[in-house]
């Protein structure tokens, strides 16, 4: 079926290639060239099963004239070559199909020839060479037609796919402008949170510690020294430093988890999945270079999602898949638990969403009651 469809496509390309060459002066007319290119693009898209790009209606049919004119020589070359190869293959199958049962009906001086140049003198030759030729060329067609047809279709789309129109570009710019503003807002909110944590927490604690130490020094120098007071002040200051360290560690963790700096995304995800209470499979594809902000977001999404899995899902197994395709970094966390995850109930999913939005990404939570649950995070990777 595949062979048939691609064979028809290739032979069609041969015919249209011949037509292109013969009608070249006529196809030089921009309007006709665009129609001609548009027709080729449609059948190429149909063959490849690629839907026409969304919002491209304004550009149809035929796209830009320069591209449509470029298509003429390209098609004359590729369509004719690939089409001729297909025709040779199909033609010789047809010859063998006719010659095998009917070789005797031809005039002895112009007997049909099989396997390139062997005339058929008797039944033995006909019944061995005929089927052999059909089998071999059938196999060639089966193996070669699909890639040949797809190659032609791809070349066609590469040449005549409409470039985005001005309106489409303007719409894209508008979307990017808006999401960039959102991203800056989210980023600003994140900076303010860090500032607040440091200012209200660690900094305030250090001030309190410094005050206690100052008073302790004074009290120590007093003529009537109150040892108990000095001791209490020093103890408070000491405990204060410990609390400050704990808080600081937490702030650092929310900014950029140290394990990421130590071991990279691979190592950090290995660590976070291996400490999950539920057995978790980790599957990381080839990610290339990933910026620190995206790494941190992926790490948080996985850590938070797995915390939810361990706490609420009753799952017996979970999986984490991280991959990169079509300009997007995607993370999918699934579990076989009871589902019913509700974003409004806990802060985990909301936290993931906040961080992902800050990078212009999307979060999808699919968690029907009864399970299973899948949390999908996608980040655009224009890096």
């Amino acid at each position: 079926m595949r062979t048939w469809r691609t064979g028809v496509y290739l032979l069609g390309s041969l015919l249209s290639g011949v037509a292109t060459v013969t009608a070249l002066p006529l196809l030089g007319v921009p309007r006709l060239a665009r129609l001609w290119a548009g027709w080729h693009r449609d059948r190429a898209e149909k063959l490849l099963g690629t839907p026409p790009p969304a919002g491209s209606a304004t550009g149809r049919p035929g796209g830009r004239t320069s591209r449509a004119l470029l298509w003429l020589p390209v098609h004359a070359l590729t369509g004719l070559t690939l089409g001729l190869a297909a025709l040779l293959c199909v033609g010789n199958i047809v010859v063998a199909v006719i010659a095998t049962p009917l070789w005797w009906a031809f005039d002895p001086r112009s007997r049909p020839r099989l396997v390139v140049d062997v005339p058929v003198p008797d039944w033995t030759t006909a019944l061995t060479l005929g089927p052999a030729q059909i089998l071999v060329l059938g196999a060639v067609a089966y193996l070669a037609f699909p890639p040949m047809a797809r190659a032609h279709a791809r070349i066609c789309l590469a040449v005549v796919s409409p470039l985005p129109t001005d309106e489409q570009l303007a719409a894209r710019v508008a979307v990017l402008t808006r999401t960039r503003a959102d991203v800056l807002d989210a980023h600003g909110a994140e900076l303010r949170r860090i500032e607040r944590d440091l200012h209200d927490g660690t900094q305030a604690r250090l001030v309190a510690i410094a005050m206690r130490l100052a008073v302790a020094r004074q009290a120590f120098a007093d003529r009537t020294r109150d040892d108990q007071l000095v001791e209490d002040l020093l103890r408070d200051a000491h405990e204060g430093t410990e609390e400050a360290m704990t808080e600081l560690r937490e702030v650092i963790r929310t900014v950029y988890p140290p394990i990421l700096a130590d071991r990279g995304l691979d190592g950090a995800l290995t660590a976070v999945t291996s400490r999950c209470g539920v057995p978790t499979r980790l599957d990381i594809g080839d990610l290339g270079r990933v910026p620190a902000a995206a790494e941190a977001t992926v790490y948080f999404a996985v850590a938070e999602a797995l915390t939810n899995v361990a706490k609420h899902s009753q799952a017996t197994s979970a999986s984490v898949r991280v991959g990169r395709a079509a300009g997007r970094l995607s993370v999918v966390i699934t579990d076989d638990g009871t589902g019913g995850a509700d974003e409004r109930r806990g802060t985990g999913l909301a936290g993931i969403r906040r961080r992902v939005l800050a990078l212009d990404g999307v979060v999808d939570v699919d968690s029907p009651a009864g399970g299973p649950t899948a949390v999908t995070v996608e980040l655009p990777c224009g890096w």
Partner: protein, 219 residues
């Protein structure tokens, strides 16, 4: 007791030297990177070592790797790893090396001098010193069987996992040796673990139990 330190931050290494000197240790060498540390260990054959996780040049996990390498080169070399944060993965990697004498503590713990020195001695004697935070993370995420422990038993479990022996546990919780013994018996029965002696093996058994993935939905 002779100590070799791997710490690149001069503020911290001088602090450690001061503190260890007062506690009766002798600091044989302070290395500021992994290679220097390994050389110093070969040269001085210390009784115990203290290693910071982050060391030059890349300030990633050189310290952990240096510690593991030192323990491969000198089996049983006591190593206490210090870090600004705790990561179970590192604890697991350290414990996976054969023999006792491993510690993994937050740097914060240094400020509790008595406890820190106690932990260092424990490591030097072939024992274990796991940071309470590592244990807390493990206990926190653990499922049903842990929930079946009484609060007191959970305290005892935590101290056991940190590497304390029965005496130390009794002292810290202000209970008799007998009571400690009873609690430990109950814990091992509830968790379904075989009772083992009070050394490094017991810590490993408890940590392995806490670390094992298991369903949160119970059994």
């Amino acid at each position: 007791m002779r100590v070799v330190i791997a710490e690149d931050n001069v503020l911290l290494s001088t602090g450690l030297e001061l503190l260890l000197g007062r506690a009766g240790f002798r600091v044989a060498a302070v290395a500021d990177d992994a290679a220097g540390f390994l050389t110093a260990v070969r040269e001085h054959r210390p009784d115990v070592t203290i290693v910071d996780v982050r060391l030059p040049p890349s300030f990633r996990d050189e310290g952990i790797r240096a510690a593991l390498r030192a323990r491969r080169e000198h089996p049983g070399l006591p190593v206490l790893v210090l870090s600004q944060y705790v990561e179970q993965q590192y604890a697991a990697e350290l414990l996976a090396t054969s023999g006792g004498g491993v510690g993994y503590l937050l740097k914060d713990r240094v400020s509790r001098v008595d406890q820190f020195v106690d932990a260092l001695r424990r490591v030097a004697d072939g024992g274990t010193a796991m940071d309470p935070e590592v244990i807390a993370q493990l206990v926190h995420r653990a499922g049903d069987p842990i929930a079946a422990l009484t609060p007191r038993e959970r305290e005892v479990l935590g101290l056991m996992a940190q590497g304390h022996d029965n005496n130390a546990i009794g002292r810290q919780l202000v209970i008799t040796d007998n009571a400690v013994h009873k609690h430990i018996g109950n814990i091992f029965a509830k968790l379904g673990l075989a009772v083992s002696d009070s050394g490094h093996r017991r810590v490993l058994a408890v940590l392995a139990y806490l670390n094992a993935p298991r369903s949160t939905g119970g059994h």
